[in-house]
């Protein structure tokens, strides 16, 4: 995906000559020269609208002042931004904006980091000539669980509206009324029900949109900030974590044009309350009969080390741990305990990531997220990215709507991507592999498989072997000379694969001749009483493994179990020794995202009690087992990693440091340079991508209004979760042959998938997000629903083996004979249904 050659032009701004790419926006070119033109509506992540009129500048030869946010530079342009004429206009705009502004800065969350406040200091009048009563509205409206709207403070810059419209594609927040009565509002019968709503708070240039979790919590100057990375999904959005005292109070997106642009999802933004949840473990626990007793760290480590010395030991790790943890876990298992049984695939049990090895020499992606932007076609097979990889969904949407890529979706059920897909291929659960194999031969899909192509895959279907569809996809990709994004689900999953927490792979993707047991095999062995000890790090197999009963039996029957966790999870409650763990905002560490980009987390808050990073626990265990690694710091771990992991040999971890602006918003006010943290992609045999290869390139800023086509998409997507029937043409490709296998048998095939908000240990401890989880629902094909005599909103009973649960019917576009159930929702434990064979009987309740 080559960079386009761009013509350079010479522009003079405030007397300084500069070379700039032709067509770039004046406001950006000026900013790069250190000339900050004040602005409210302009945002580099969205199209220009030029409504606030704050960025007016004088361009020689133009009859009027022009908005620099919508004026492209041209050769020979001579611009003045601070002479009396433009400066006067800027002052006038501020006077206009302030006449109806309540000036309640002392009680406004934004006070101290407010572009309106800052620009008023810089360009505004000292006093007001407005003597009339101000415009008033009802002060604070809760427009969702998360967002509070104060229309009096609003300067009508449209950023929130444009974000919802252009970036997120869910138009829940809109302009209402006209003239001086224009307001930002949600529709009266719908809350601001977006997975990305928090971004509107961050980009609001005043305190009109505030976070329900942060209202009146702190003044910005009392906050301490640290750059970090979201530890939920594998997109790995950089974040700015902020604390007051030692309490984490706010998480915001840290812009990175390679990963998240300017955005994070609401789960990443509001899902941090787990760090100081009441039931957070702060001290080691040692089993004492039916109960636990508190222990010192040393005591607990000694107790565990004693049991791990001999016999058959298994290690299961979770998806939210750091690269360092992963390295330490495999080191303890392979070097100290000398067991080959270790795995980090819990929910995506059976996912065969290592199949990529044969094609590229690396486990995981060969494409970067940015490759999506240059792609002409994208194939997606897997779960709904809006639910599981939310910011990747935004990037896919951008690639299609702005970049013009053609999207081909292969899925047994309707995904949010379908709204802008060129081809939607509906297959039976398990029929993905066949459908994919047929892509290159079936018209009209094959004609749209044009290079550059990015093939995307993520394990969609907990409890099912999904390696075949990955294989199929990779074959297509190789045939079409494509790159691929192979997306392990969680923030730490790729790191686990890189560091060799895998029964068949050593660190650096080195295959092992005699593979150990994977998660399922370990649990089966434990349940059969054949495992002497089990170490579970940052994982809760009882809640997450697609066979709940098996995981429960394993924990009960295993000789000894050590669990390292944040919370007393169901798994931890059955352990013999529990060590308290650390949360992402508390540690120095690294995470590797789905494109194998290594990013650094900096510590901000302190861990409770004697909680320690899992890698320290591993090192302590090793020392107790007479294998002293002599690790005391993050740097020590990395010294070992660069020595022992071939793919990470030349990596300079110090170069990964991200910077945060003193205030997360301040870069907009011209007092700080725009942050541009760019971590390198880990070098692998698959090749190294240039560092920050899009840095300095302009964001696409096509002019308002949105294209007609895009608005059509919007219209289709509103209003909500369960979209209407697909508009994109649907083709049946290759659904036959093998597909028959999973479809035969009694009852419906269970197709399970995670939702953004669920009963997960971290997210469910954020009360605002927990309240948004959708609960127990089941998606049914309309024909199946008719046969069962049920309709939208009816209650049905799902029966699988001895498990029976009720759920609300949602009629959806899903393959006939299959039901979709959300994974891990209140009242609906999909892993119990899956554990009983993957089929359910559905009956009207």
């Amino acid at each position: 995906m080559t960079q386009q050659q761009t013509e350079m032009v010479t522009v003079t701004i405030n007397g300084q000559q500069v070379q700039a790419e032709n067509g770039r926006l004046l406001i950006d070119v000026a900013e790069e020269m250190g000339i900050f033109v004040p602005r409210f509506c302009y945002h580099p992540g969205m199209k220009s609208v030029a409504v606030c009129r704050m960025c007016l500048v004088k361009v020689e030869g133009m009859p009027k002042l022009v908005p620099s946010c919508s004026t492209p530079v041209a050769d020979g342009m001579v611009v003045e931004t601070d002479t009396p004429e433009p400066a006067g206009a800027q002052e006038d705009m501020l006077e206009f904006l302030l006449i109806n502004h309540p000036l309640d800065c002392p009680i406004c969350d934004r006070g101290g980091e407010c572009p309106l406040q800052d620009q008023t200091y810089a360009h505004g009048p000292g006093s007001s000539r407005f003597v009339e009563p101000k415009r008033t509205y009802e002060k604070a409206l809760d427009i969702s669980q998360l967002v509070v709207l104060d229309r009096e403070r609003c300067v009508l810059c449209w950023r929130c509206v444009r974000f919802s419209d252009e970036v997120a594609g869910d138009r829940f927040i809109q302009l209402v009324d006209r003239g001086s009565g224009t307001q930002i509002l949600t529709f009266s019968d719908e809350p601001f029900d977006s997975y990305f709503s928090g971004n509107t708070i961050q980009i609001c240039p005043v305190g009109a949109l505030t976070a329900s979790t942060y209202r009146f919590v702190s003044r910005p100057w009392d906050l301490k900030a640290a750059p970090s990375v979201c530890s939920y999904c594998s997109v790995g959005c950089p974040t700015t974590n902020e604390s007051r005292g030692d309490k984490l109070v706010r998480v915001q997106a840290l812009p990175n044009e390679n990963v998240n642009d300017f955005w994070i999802c609401d789960k990443g933004r509001f899902g941090f309350h787990y760090v100081d949840a009441k039931d957070r473990l702060s001290t080691p626990l040692v089993r004492d009969g039916d109960d636990f007793r508190s222990a010192t760290w040393g005591e607990a480590v000694a107790a565990a080390a004693e049991k791990l010395g001999g016999g058959k030991v298994g290690v299961i790790a979770g998806g939210h741990l750091t690269t360092e943890d992963a390295f330490a876990i495999q080191r303890l298992a392979r070097k100290t305990i000398k067991t080959p049984h270790l795995d980090a695939r819990i929910q995506d049990d059976g996912a065969a990531y290592e199949r990529t090895l044969a094609y590229s020499g690396v486990v995981g992606s060969t494409a970067t997220i940015n490759d999506l932007d240059g792609a002409r076609s994208i194939v997606w097979v897997g779960p709904d990215p809006k639910e599981v990889l939310p910011v990747l969904y935004l990037r896919l949407r951008k690639a299609v709507l702005d970049g013009g890529a053609k999207l081909i979706v292969v899925s047994p059920r309707r995904l949010s991507l379908d709204a802008f897909a060129t081809h939607v291929i509906r297959c039976e659960p398990g029929g993905e592999a066949n459908a994919l194999s047929a892509l290159t031969t079936t018209a009209p899909v094959k004609d749209d498989l044009a290079a550059p192509l990015v093939a995307c895959w993520s394990p969609a279907n907990p409890g099912r072997e999904t390696g075949a569809d990955l294989d199929s996809l990779l074959k297509v990709a190789v045939e079409k000379d494509a790159r691929w994004l192979v997306c392990a689900p969680h923030a730490g999953s790729q790191g686990m694969l890189d560091m060799g927490v895998h029964p068949a792979l050593e660190s650096g993707y080195r295959p092992i001749d005699e593979p150990g047991m994977d998660t399922r095999a370990m649990l089966e062995a434990a349940a059969a009483g054949e495992l002497d000890a089990l170490i579970v790090v940052g994982a809760d197999p009882i809640s997450d493994f697609p066979n709940r009963n098996l995981a429960q039996a394993a924990m009960e029957k295993v000789g000894f179990s050590l669990v390292i966790e944040l919370f007393p999870t169901e798994t931890a409650r059955l352990a013999d020794v529990v060590l308290p763990s650390t949360a992402a905002p508390e540690i120095e560490g690294t995470l590797t995202n789905l494109e194998r980009r290594l990013q650094k987390l900096e510590p901000l808050t302190k861990s409770p009690g004697t909680a320690r990073e899992p890698w320290r626990a591993m090192a302590d265990l090793a020392r107790a087992m007479d294998d002293d690694w002599k690790w005391t710091s993050f740097a020590d771990v990395w010294a070992a990693i660069t020595k022992e992991v071939p793919t990470h040999q030349d990596l300079d971890v110090a170069a990964l440091a991200q910077e945060v602006p003193p205030s997360a918003l301040q870069y907009e006010s011209g007092t700080e340079e725009q942050p541009g943290p760019r971590g390198p992609v880990v070098a692998g045999p698959g090749g190294q991508y240039p560092k920050g290869h899009r840095s300095g390139a302009p964001f696409k800023t096509a002019s308002w209004p949105l294209s007609w086509e895009l608005r059509q998409f919007e219209a289709k997507q509103r209003p909500g979760h369960i979209p209407d029937a697909p508009e994109a043409p649907e083709e049946k490709v290759g659904a036959g042959a093998d597909a028959a296998a999973p479809m035969s048998g009694e009852g419906f095939v269970v197709y399970a998938g995670r939702q953004i908000y669920d009963e997960g240990a971290m997210v469910s401890r954020s009360s605002v997000l927990h309240a948004l989880s959708k609960g127990a629902f089941v998606e049914l094909n309309d024909e199946d629903a008719k046969e069962l005599d049920v309709t939208d909103g009816d209650e049905v009973t799902l029966t699988a083996g001895n498990n029976e649960m009720t759920a609300t019917v949602v009629i959806a576009d899903i393959s006939k004979g299959a039901v979709f159930v959300p994974y891990d929702q209140k009242g609906l434990r999909a892993n119990e249904l899956l554990g009983a064979g993957g089929r359910v009987k559905v009956a009207k309740a």
Binding site: S70, F96, E132, D177, G181, S703, S707, W708
Partner: protein
């Protein structure tokens, strides 16, 4: 006293009883020129013809019509022609009469324009309030389809045309072409960022020509009589005729069609002079947006009025006599703009409503000495800084009132009351009851529904 020069009002004036019927129109030669255009003239020649005739748009800006057409890319399809029949400029009522009295002439003109630019679909964006006009256009469109003047293969040529009549929902800004297009597409009527201009990316993102009703109604006459005939009327740079909507304190308000270059005095004579023999005090020469003039010896063409610091605009001429309170005039005009501001950009949204608040104080005797300068500052803050010409227009009207009649404003402040005896208060105060949303208290309910009641 001069005579009117009828062109677009010819049929309407000659046959006042049935000028809108198909029979009368056909008897009078309607659609002959469409036939001539589609069967005898090539598209390029037609564009050249209109360019050479020097026809200028009659909606307000006076942009040369032929040149506008020539900006439309030849090889992008589909293209659209959109007729701006949203006549909303206060004082203007010419398009209304053209559509009511001669819809067939309008349809013929639309078809000629569509043929010239290669569009097969045309939309008439009709002001919502025009009930009679829209009924007559609707009927005329049906009749034209029945006769084969619209639809497939018009007059045996390869030219197809469909016309869709769409009634607006009552926003002044939808007379601005890009806001009109947004409204027509079903969105909030607000102006679009330009470029791209509609000729390149207009309706549904396709090349679009937006022409005024009067402009297209002139086309059949140019096709019929040619360039030289057309240039025989008016001035060198403003050839042809123009329908002026005359109102205010005159004896016979109404539409008068005269050649460009006619003076404001001559137009006033046609309208019977000032009502009750009163003295002329001020003239709005081109709709509420145009800065005021204080005497009538200006020629009515684009360049003369531009030189005089005002504009021809849409041709709405309002004559005001000595009983008019200019503070009230400024208030009423500014209230209109505040009410019609779409709210998109800061200066227009905040400036117009602020100016209304100040003007209300001055008019009710609560003004301060500094208010006149404040009003001028507000006007300067809007002028040239707004997103679209609405804010500019509001500032011009406001500024010219304050500048030309500052003494009257000061008298209001000095005496603490309106210095006029109220003779015309009913007339000009009719709109002042309209709330601009700025006094909205408490905001009951989410939408502030009572705002306009």
């Amino acid at each position: 006293m001069i005579d009117e020069t009828y062109m677009v009002l010819k049929r309407a004036r000659e046959f006042p009883k049935d000028s809108w019927t198909l029979k009368r129109a056909l008897d009078d030669g309607a659609y002959d020129n469409l036939k001539k255009a589609v069967t005898e003239i090539s598209q390029a020649d037609l564009i050249e013809l209109v360019k050479n005739a020097g026809l200028r748009g009659k909606g307000g800006a006076g942009f040369p019509t032929g040149m506008k057409w020539s900006f439309v890319p030849k090889d992008v399809f589909p293209k659209y022609v959109v007729i701006n029949h949203d006549e909303g400029e206060p004082g203007t009522f010419k398009d209304r009469e053209i559509a009511e009295r001669d819809p067939h002439q309008m349809i013929e003109g639309i078809a000629i324009a569509a043929y010239a630019v290669g569009a097969n679909k045309a939309f008439i964006y009709c002001r919502g309030e025009f009930a009679l006009g829209s009924r007559r256009m609707d009927r005329a469109i049906k009749e034209a389809y029945e006769k084969g003047f619209l639809g497939k293969g018009i007059f045996g040529s390869k030219f197809d045309l469909d016309i869709v009549l769409h009634r607006g929902a009552g926003a002044y800004i939808c007379g601005e072409e890009s806001a009109l297009l947004d409204s027509l597409e079903g969105f909030r009527g607000q102006p679009r960022l330009k470029p791209p201009f509609p000729a390149i990316k207009g309706l549904y993102g396709q090349p679009t020509v937006v022409n005024n009703t009067e402009t297209v109604s002139t086309l059949p006459h140019i096709v019929a009589n040619g360039v030289d005939w057309f240039k025989g009327f008016g001035t060198e740079k403003s050839p042809g005729t123009k329908v002026f909507s005359v109102s205010g304190h005159v004896e016979r308000p109404g539409n008068y069609e005269v050649a460009y270059g006619t003076t404001l005095d001559q137009l006033l004579d046609l309208a019977g002079g000032m009502k009750d023999g009163k003295t002329l005090k001020a003239i709005i020469p081109g709709g509420a947006s145009a800065p005021l003039l204080t005497h009538a010896d200006y020629a009515l063409d684009f360049d003369s009025l531009k030189e005089a610091g005002t504009m021809l605009g849409s041709g709405a001429v309002v004559y005001m006599d000595e009983t008019t309170c200019m503070v009230r005039n400024a208030l009423v005009t500014t209230e209109f703009f505040a009410h019609e501001s779409c709210g998109k950009c800061t200066p227009c949204r905040e400036g117009t409503s602020w100016a209304v608040k100040v003007l209300r104080r001055v008019e009710s005797g609560e003004g301060r000495q500094e208010d006149m300068d404040l009003l001028l500052d507000i006007a300067n803050g809007m002028d040239g800084r707004s997103f679209c010409p609405l804010g500019d227009a509001a500032s011009w009207a406001l500024r010219s009132n304050v500048k030309l009649f500052r003494e009257e404003f000061e008298a209001h402040v000095r005496e603490g009351r309106c210095t006029f005896d109220g003779e015309h208060k009913e007339l000009v105060g009719a709109r002042s009851g309209i709330d601009t949303g700025i006094s909205q208290q408490g905001d009951e309910g989410l939408g502030g529904e009572d705002r306009l009641s």
